[in-house]
């Protein structure tokens, strides 16, 4: 029976101690600790959200980079293409130009040769004429150098005349 009979002394001390404990702990332990824990969990939540945001941004950034890289590649390809085209065009043009130029040169050379030849022929003709006159002169001089020859010539010419 004593086991289940409360005693006043112990009740008094328990009440006093428990109430003091409740007051001190509520004021100096539970409140600050729970506040700190709440603040921390809020901090962690915020940090997680930040991380998620950063991850999203990173993803966006990555996509952006990818896009830019793609664009740059396309641009590079088009530039190379254009350059190639321009190159072939230039070569083509240069070749055409060279052909025309060559043809022109050949033409002018031909003309020059032609005129040179003409001049040479004319000159040759003139010289041949001179030489011919000189030769004729010499021949004439030779054939008329003696009386006999003059007579023979006269005879010959007379013979020819007679024949006619």
């Amino acid at each position: 029976m004593e086991l289940v009979t409360p005693s006043y002394g112990l009740l008094f001390w328990t009440g006093l101690t428990f109430c003091l404990l409740l007051f001190v702990l509520a004021r100096f332990v539970w409140k600050p600790v729970l506040n700190a824990v709440n603040a921390r969990s809020q901090k962690i939540d915020e940090a997680l959200q930040e991380a998620e945001k950063a991850r999203q941004e990173m993803k966006n950034l990555h996509a952006e980079n990818e896009r830019i890289l793609k664009e740059a590649k396309a641009e590079r390809d088009s530039i190379i293409m254009e350059a190639k085209e321009a190159g072939t065009k230039m070569i083509e043009e240069a070749r055409d130009k060279a052909k025309i130029e060559g043809a022109k040169l050949i033409e002018s050379a031909r003309l020059a040769i032609q005129s040179e030849r003409n001049a040479a022929i004319a000159d040759m003709k003139a010289q041949i004429a001179t030489f011919s006159v000189e030769i004729a002169e010499n021949i004439v001089k030779e054939s008329l150098s003696s009386d006999e020859k003059q007579k023979s010539l006269a005879n010959k010419m007379a013979e020819e005349l007679k024949l006619n």
């Binding site: 086991l3 005693s7 002394g9 112990l10 001190v24 702990l25 509520a26 332990v29 539970w30 700190a36």
Partner: protein, 353 residues
């Protein structure tokens, strides 16, 4: 619940062991004496050769009287012809007698008995008994541990816990998230969290201190009906004072109950107010006392048989029960705070009919 079945089995088993043995050997090993309050803290040895811490006795009997319990324990034994043996105080304690750890004023120099109970006047006893000292030690330890935890957060701010805070914080969070919030939803737990955590840690530290066999442990504080009565009364008062309109309506005009049944229902509901904390009181008291009895009964096997060989049986069993008691120490602290939260939660619940 299998744990409880198991414990009940051991309790019964222990009591069966205890009963014949205590009849045979109550001089050497009185279990009931060990689990009850005392005015000395017995350390070792028997009688005058033993070592005890003599605790101060504070009496209110026409003024405050303060003296050491040594004046009783080292006083005179009552007349051995007397069927009831009690300690007569000497020195400052003269005029008082100690019988079964209770203090009586002497009448004609002795105690008068009626059916084995003294009929003498009992002065108000505010002594620092074994349980009171244990209460102080437990509370002091609790303050040291918890204040250093709080200091950690004060010093470091809202960071991850280290050291003692790493051990204490999960317990506080456990009480808040598993005990308070599920029973007191919608932010209502904030008002009661202080009480629930204090009760939890108070019961836990005193349960654990009770498991230590020697000073400063070993007092059966949470297995004392006075302490559990006080704690249950706190829960009752909080329930009554925070009960809202809805709570009282359920007691005095239970919705959905025909008017003719109310004369039956109202007394039942009123009794229900008191049975809940009463169950709290008995649960903690019986669990902790039973644990102490089982452990002591198992050890008493050695002393009753007066042979150390029995230690081969009793020590492993006592070790097993002690480990179980460590679990029970946590379990009972959890149960008391959880059921308190449940009862308070029922009293502040919003109407949802």
């Amino acid at each position: 619940m299998s744990l409880y079945t198991f414990r009940s089995f051991f309790a019964v088993f222990g009591l069966f062991l205890l009963l014949p043995f205590s009849l045979k050997a109550n001089e050497e090993f009185d279990i009931m004496h060990h689990i009850q309050d005392a005015h000395e803290w017995h350390l070792w040895g028997e009688g005058h050769g033993g070592k005890s811490i003599y605790l101060p006795i504070i009496l209110y009997d026409n003024g405050i009287k303060l003296f050491s319990s040594k004046d009783f324990y080292h006083g005179q034994k009552s007349d051995t012809n007397n069927t009831h043996e009690y300690m007569l105080g000497v020195g400052k304690a003269s005029g008082y007698a100690l019988f079964h750890e209770k203090i009586y004023s002497l009448k004609d120099g002795k105690l008068q008995f009626h059916e084995d109970h003294p009929t003498n006047h009992m002065p108000l006893d505010f002594s620092i008994t074994k349980n009171v000292l244990s209460l102080f030690i437990g509370s002091f330890l609790l303050l040291v541990i918890l204040l250093s935890t709080a200091r950690y957060y004060k010093k470091n701010g809202a960071v991850a816990p280290k050291g003692i805070a790493k051990f204490i914080e999960p317990l506080i969070i456990f009480v808040r998230d598993e005990v308070a919030i599920p029973n007191l939803p919608h932010g209502k737990h904030k008002k009661y969290i202080g009480f629930l955590t204090t009760v939890f840690f108070f019961i836990l530290i005193n349960n654990l201190l009770g498991m230590i066999p020697i000073f400063p442990g070993g007092a059966n504080l949470t297995g004392n009906i006075t302490v559990t009565f006080f704690l249950a009364t706190c829960t009752l008062l909080i329930t009554l004072f925070s009960g809202n309109k809805n709570y009282w309506k359920h007691i005095f005009a239970t919705p959905g109950v025909p008017l003719v049944l109310l004369p039956i229902m109202i007394p039942i509901e009123i009794v229900g107010i008191f049975t809940k904390p009463f169950a709290l009181m008995i649960r903690l008291f019986a669990n902790m006392t039973a644990g102490h009895i089982i452990v002591l009964a198992l050890f008493s096997i050695i002393f009753v048989n007066k042979s150390a060989g029995w230690a081969g049986l009793s020590v492993p069993m006592a070790l097993f029960i002690s480990l179980l008691e460590v679990l029970v120490a946590f379990l009972q602290a959890y149960l008391f705070s959880m059921l308190s939260a449940l009862f308070i939660g029922a009293a502040v619940e919003d109407d949802h009919h």
